[in-house]
Symmetry: C2
Subunit: 408 residues, 2 copies
């Protein structure tokens, strides 16, 4: 470890800002008592944003609309937000907010719904299209309407951070944007609202949480014991609780731990102070942009192959730490330990029922090269990743995903 | 484990609110660029609160007063805040704020200075004495002046939470108070500002951080993998980095990890969702109230004896987990593993140079019983601790601290 790295030894943690003013209301049955009080701080006209209708099946839609009606709110609905939310849907939401002069947005759903709502919130004050706003990426610094969320899926962490990912199918682009103004003002995290999440989505969400932790954990910045210790604790939490939730979907503690882990994995706790770019997310975003696959599944497929691809004398120490602290692997030979950790990661995803090859999700060799070029073009992985990756490297990693793998 | 516990299995994590809107500016040399911008959001008249003058020796006082002068601030000083801040000092600060119509408080120091500044901030709007405010404890819900901190000691976590502890030597009381309004608006955490902290205070501060983690970790609530995983990661961070900081006081990463661990140990991450009372803090507060000893030292002395005292069939599982995950003890016999973990905790504090008996800090048998009675009276340890403790139990634990101990 340390070869890529340019700071003085003993002076390595980067400066960072940690500012997460989201008022998290975690636990059971809080909406009845607290939701309208929280919303009333911002006004009476609410944009209710949600996805494909699962909240109508599980009763959450009825519960919330009744609460808002009893509270005298004017409710405007933005429904049908896609799993990979599209820029056209954001435009539609912005138009609704302007037409009805919305005071506050209430997003009820998973990361896609919340991401869409964030860009709607900022788009309200932005005088160009939603896609122009997305193209500003992390440089966007405009205001946004206040956003309150009711989370229904443990996965992206969007409920407690500033980021959003929006897709443009016309250009095959899936890009992140974010600003302090887009951090939710309050988020209701009731584990019971994830009891009805199907097994496939539960597994994919857990893979997404783990990937956020891996991306922040495997970085060139050293000396970040706080961040890495928290990441290891959260990884172990997901690895323990995802199988419980798959077997017993209404196990409260399993759902609670997955939900809280999702928020903390990507709110700055594990990434603050650690420079450099992510690796698997840019590679996965192209799979989703070209084939519209489930984000977490793409990440699960890519992650172990990426880990093996970058394993070297430089990185083996960190992979051995990962194998030991996260998977309890006590093997003392560094490379053997590292490979066992990678195998354990692969086996875990597979045991959770995730299809672990690209053909299983409908992706063949045809577009691997163009997706690899786009992954490099849309990100800084060629220069700033844990181990920098060229388009050729990305193609190689994609190709490893065409068939089942063994790492030991 | 689990005997004291009344929830359904699989439905154990308590509801909690996590709301920590402190804008943390972590890292090197940020004051020049950022301090006055942060303060200007609240106004131009600043109460500068600090302790015994160490900030005059290390240059921080000069740096800050020059910045404020150049920015056109009116500065009022509250100096001489004690290591266990006294209620009379709070009253003095409140009077200064009223006399000069202060807009914002800038606390430069460790937990004592910040704690004092918090109660001054709330006392400004409170029409009785500071001690009356403290006696309201956690029920206090009034407003407070905005508070910004510049941290100089990794220990209490006060820089990122709502709590404060104030001493009344006239009544031998040391009590906690807290309210959402008292959470710092912003905190500057520059590890370099702790390079000059003496060894004894570095060790005592680390013991304080560890104690916060222990208090939250050893609780009756089960199923809190997120909280406990984070706590274990932070414990390992302190155990690794405290000895480095003792040996090399200007090791940036060691100081950075201790500083960030101090903030995260007590901001709700490790305690949220876990009910019940703390154990060692109420016992230690009486030692400090009666003998004015260093808080972290008192905690270090008490902790291993408390651990051994409460070790039982009920608690041994958690202690084995602690021994394994934090100390790397692979012993499979639960009680042997637990005792090795307790011994490791004791040995760690001792190796850090902390005096590990009460007589070494000037406390003999004389007042043990009355302090034990007060510890029970001022807290809920008799009913709500991990293992409930009567005054007789507390006396027994105090007595174990009179001589050196061995736990295996």
């Amino acid at each position: 470890m340390g070869q890529n790295y340019t700071f003085e030894v003993g002076e390595r943690m980067d400066n960072f800002r940690f500012y997460v003013p989201t008022d998290v209301r975690f636990g059971k049955d809080r909406l009845e008592e607290e939701l309208t009080d929280v919303l009333d701080a911002y006004g009476k006209t609410v944009l209710l944003a949600y996805g494909g209708g699962s909240i109508k099946k599980n009763g959450l839609y009825d519960q919330i609309t009744k609460l808002l009606e009893a509270n005298g709110n004017t409710v405007v609905e933005l429904s049908g937000i896609e799993p990979n939310p599209r820029t056209e849907t954001v435009d539609r939401g912005v138009a609704l907010c302007r037409e009805h002069q919305v005071d506050v947005i209430l997003a009820v759903g998973g990361g896609s719904t919340i991401d869409c709502a964030k860009v709607v919130a900022a788009g309200f004050y932005f005088d160009q299209s939603a896609w122009d706003l997305v193209l500003a990426r992390r440089t966007f610094a405009g205001p946004a309407l206040p956003l309150v969320t009711v989370l229904t899926l443990a996965a992206t962490g969007s409920e407690m951070n500033s980021g959003a990912v929006i897709s443009n199918l016309a250009t095959n682009q899936k890009l992140g944007v974010g600003a302090a103004s887009m951090i939710p003002k309050a988020s209701f995290l009731d584990p019971q609202n994830t009891f009805t999440v199907p097994q496939y989505q539960t597994a994919a969400g857990s893979a997404d949480i783990l990937s956020h932790l891996f991306e922040n954990y495997f970085k060139v910045t050293e000396g970040t014991d706080v961040q890495d210790g928290i990441a290891e604790g959260l990884m172990k939490t997901v690895i323990k609780n995802c199988p419980i939730a798959l077997k017993t979907p209404d196990d409260y503690d399993a759902r609670a731990n997955l939900m809280w882990a999702s928020s903390l994995a990507l709110n700055g706790l594990t990434g603050g102070g650690k420079g450099g770019a992510w690796s698997c997310h840019p590679m996965e975003h192209e799979l989703s942009a070209f084939y519209d696959i489930t984000h977490g599944v793409g990440l699960a497929i890519l992650t172990p192959r990426w880990m093996e691809y970058i394993l070297s004398d430089t990185t083996v120490g960190k992979f051995q730490q990962f194998a030991h602290n996260v998977w309890g692997i006590t093997e003392t030979d560094p490379f053997t330990a590292a490979k066992k950790g990678i195998q354990a990661t692969y086996d875990f995803f597979k045991a959770c029922g995730i299809p672990m090859t690209l053909p299983e999700v409908g992706i063949d060799e045809e577009k691997l090269e163009i997706m690899a070029e786009q992954a490099v073009k849309h990100s800084t992985i060629e220069k700033a990743a844990y181990v920098p990756l060229t388009a050729a490297d990305v193609t190689n990693i994609y190709q490893e995903c065409l068939t089942e793998s063994s790492f030991i």
